[in-house]
Amino acid sequence: MASEQYTQENALLEVKELTKSFGDTKVLRGISFSLEKGEVLAIIGSSGSGKTTLLRCLNFLETADGGQILVGGTPVFDAEDASLLLPKNIRKNRLTFGLVFQNFQLFPQYTVLQNLTLAAVLSAKQNNPQYKTDKKTVLEEIDNHALDLLKRIGLAEKKDNYPCELSGGQQQRVAIARALMLTPAILCFDEPTSALDPELTKEVLRVIRDLKENGNTMVVVTHEMDFARDVADKVIFMAGGVIEESGTPTEVFSSPKSPLLRSFLSQ
Amino acid sequence: MKKKLLTMLSVLGTVGTLCACTSGQQPAGTDAPAAASADATADTAATDSDYEYIKGNGKLVIGITYYEPMNYKAEDGTLTGFDTEFAEAVCAKLGVTPEFQEIDWDMKETELKSRNIDCIWNGLTVTEDRRANMDFSKTYLINKQCVVINQENASTYTDTASLSGAMLSAESGSAGETAITSDANLSQASYTASNSQQDALIALNAGNYDAIVIDYTMALSSVGSGDFSNLVIVDGIELANEEYAIGFRTGSDMTASVNSIIDELIADGTLETIASHYDGLTDLYNAAVK
């Protein structure tokens, strides 16, 4: 498993002085934090605070202007190191991270099972030498892996359904399983429940809790304060492109120091 | 109201003849046998003097279809045209009133024999097929077909033989097309039908064709002017011409009476004056009369 190749000496994820501007607007003004293996980081803040941009930088959907991202002590992004920005290196390094979108973004023309296996099959076709000699076994392994994940999120019986036949909560659970297919070291969530009503929110949060118990390392951008308090090991409060305050959930939620955080929490 | 009644009566008459006529529903275009079988009616009609019959009626019923420049409605709604003016002039000399009756062109022989009309005067082309079913007056116009080419080819294309390897066009279904297919040399050439005479002219101008065959009047009015200034008519090529004449009942003595009136109108210049009222018709008139 990808997550096991990293030694314990370093933090699993280290972000150093990340900056990003869109035109004249500085969206990230030097973000630094670290995360140990198996920890859950919750990022909170009002809209426009830069939290989604931070997540997108981690997933290489945006390229940061400055700073570094290290995973297990190895840089996967360095604004100074052009070789890391080569498309083939980005393609390799981005698989360190998984991303679950706010609007699920399942592929509508594929069944639940196919949504999970598509990327894995395409990758095996290109990178796994066994695919040429023993295609059947490779595909079977991928299928079994996908079915295992579907069982874990409790949707095994929906494997042949199309996304439009599922509820929003079920779709988001499938999206989580799809992100787990490529065994990322760090799984990121971009407001995973904001498109769902409260009842459906619960089932998605239950899956995320379950993942934590299994030792998955996660970064969750969220509006769900109760969830952040409950599940997160660390909380970061962002405002105006900087980390305004960070700490354990107890520190952040029970004794907030920054006035901005206090007013944010009182909303 | 009176006119409506008249139309209805003529329709009834047509239906009557249709029933009497064995092959009245022959496909259009092969109208020769349609009238041949109705000869009996025509013969009985001609035993008495047709001339006296018409004089007695005081009017000459003329079968027409509306088309320019022969018989058509002017902007103010009155019927005009070369054949209209011509017929009026002839009737004045005959001492009868002309009455113009619109007919179904495919039914013209039947209309004539049933005496719904007394003559067909509508740019009627003289053909051997038609001669079997009616008598023709003397030819009063000749609609010539002519070959038009680009000026720079004037020394190459001088006669039909030199055109036998050329690319030709004419309006599909036109007299020009017939002229090409019936000419020994031109029928050897590569032929493509055009949508209209104008299209043929544009394509010739573009060099898509080496030569086209169009109406002489059309050629006269277009060749040499505007963007067609580089086009010329090939002199001295004789193609199958269309002769226009008036159609009367077979054996009718009207033919001779009208022919002598036409001679008078030609002699006193009346017909030439009428022709000059319409573009290009003077040439057709000259071709027929001089």
Binding site: F101, N103, Q105, L106, L118, A119 | M167, G173, S174, S190
Partner: protein, 238 residues
């Protein structure tokens, strides 16, 4: 009784011979239709891609070209293709070596060129709209799953684009069936030309209206086909 029978058989023969003649013309109509689709679809895709390119000069040139073609009548474009080479360049289309003096072939190819270009531009706009309507998130979902751009387009985006464009394409394709009638102006002997010819030679008008039955039948077939396709695709979407 005999009279009635004989006249009926005459009419029937007439009807059959006219049908046969029109069917002959309709073969050309269909040939023009299918070949136009064959060329216009890939070129439309190419034009759509160029009009979405990051390289601005080419993108604007492409968009301007599409604007000009969509903003002028197909009839005019037909005339330009068939007449302009001769008038402006002294190279009449019928005398190009590739056509070996075959005038009908030259005209058909000219018409096919104009039709293909015209429809490629209409298709390009439909394709562009179809592509631009795909949520950005679909591309990003593929991206974070490590898929290449080619894989993303062919495995995920294309079918969604097809679904997006199926309704406007169905419209455009049925319009093409009817537009083929314009080819008669440049001497392509399609069904309408054939009917006009019957009118001019035999002075019967009804074959002109009878062509409508051919167009209608074929349009109905296409509409049915597109309906089935649309239904198949809607299996995946709400």
């Amino acid at each position: 009784m005999y009279l009635l029978l004989s006249s009926e058989t005459n009419q029937a023969a007439d009807f059959l011979s006219v049908t046969a003649k029109l069917a002959g013309g309709f073969k050309t109509t269909l040939l023009l239709f299918f070949l136009t689709l064959l060329f216009a679809i890939p070129f439309g895709l190419l034009f759509a891609c160029i009009s979405r390119m990051r390289f601005k000069p080419l993108r604007y040139l492409m968009r301007a070209f599409i604007y000009v073609i969509r903003g002028t009548p197909l009839l005019l474009q037909l005339m330009i293709v068939v007449y302009l080479p001769g008038i402006a360049l002294q190279k009449p289309i019928t005398k190009w070596e590739i056509f070996h003096q075959n005038v009908p072939l030259a005209y058909f190819c000219g018409a096919l060129f104009a039709f293909s270009l015209n429809y490629a531009c209409y298709f390009a706009e439909i394709f562009r709209g179809g592509i631009e309507n795909i949520p950005k998130g679909q591309y990003e979902a593929c991206e974070v799953l490590g898929m290449t751009k080619t894989q993303t387009f062919f495995r995920v985006i294309l079918l969604q684009v097809i679904r997006n464009i199926i309704a406007p394409m169905s419209n455009e394709v049925v319009t093409l069936v009817k537009d083929t009638a314009l080819a008669r102006t440049v001497s392509v002997i399609e069904i309408f030309f054939t009917a006009s010819e019957i009118l001019r030679l035999q002075f019967i008008i009804w074959p002109l209206f009878y062509t409508g039955a051919f167009y209608l039948l074929f349009s109905a077939l296409l509409t049915l086909l597109f309906g089935i396709l649309e239904k198949k695709l809607s299996r995946y979407w709400k």
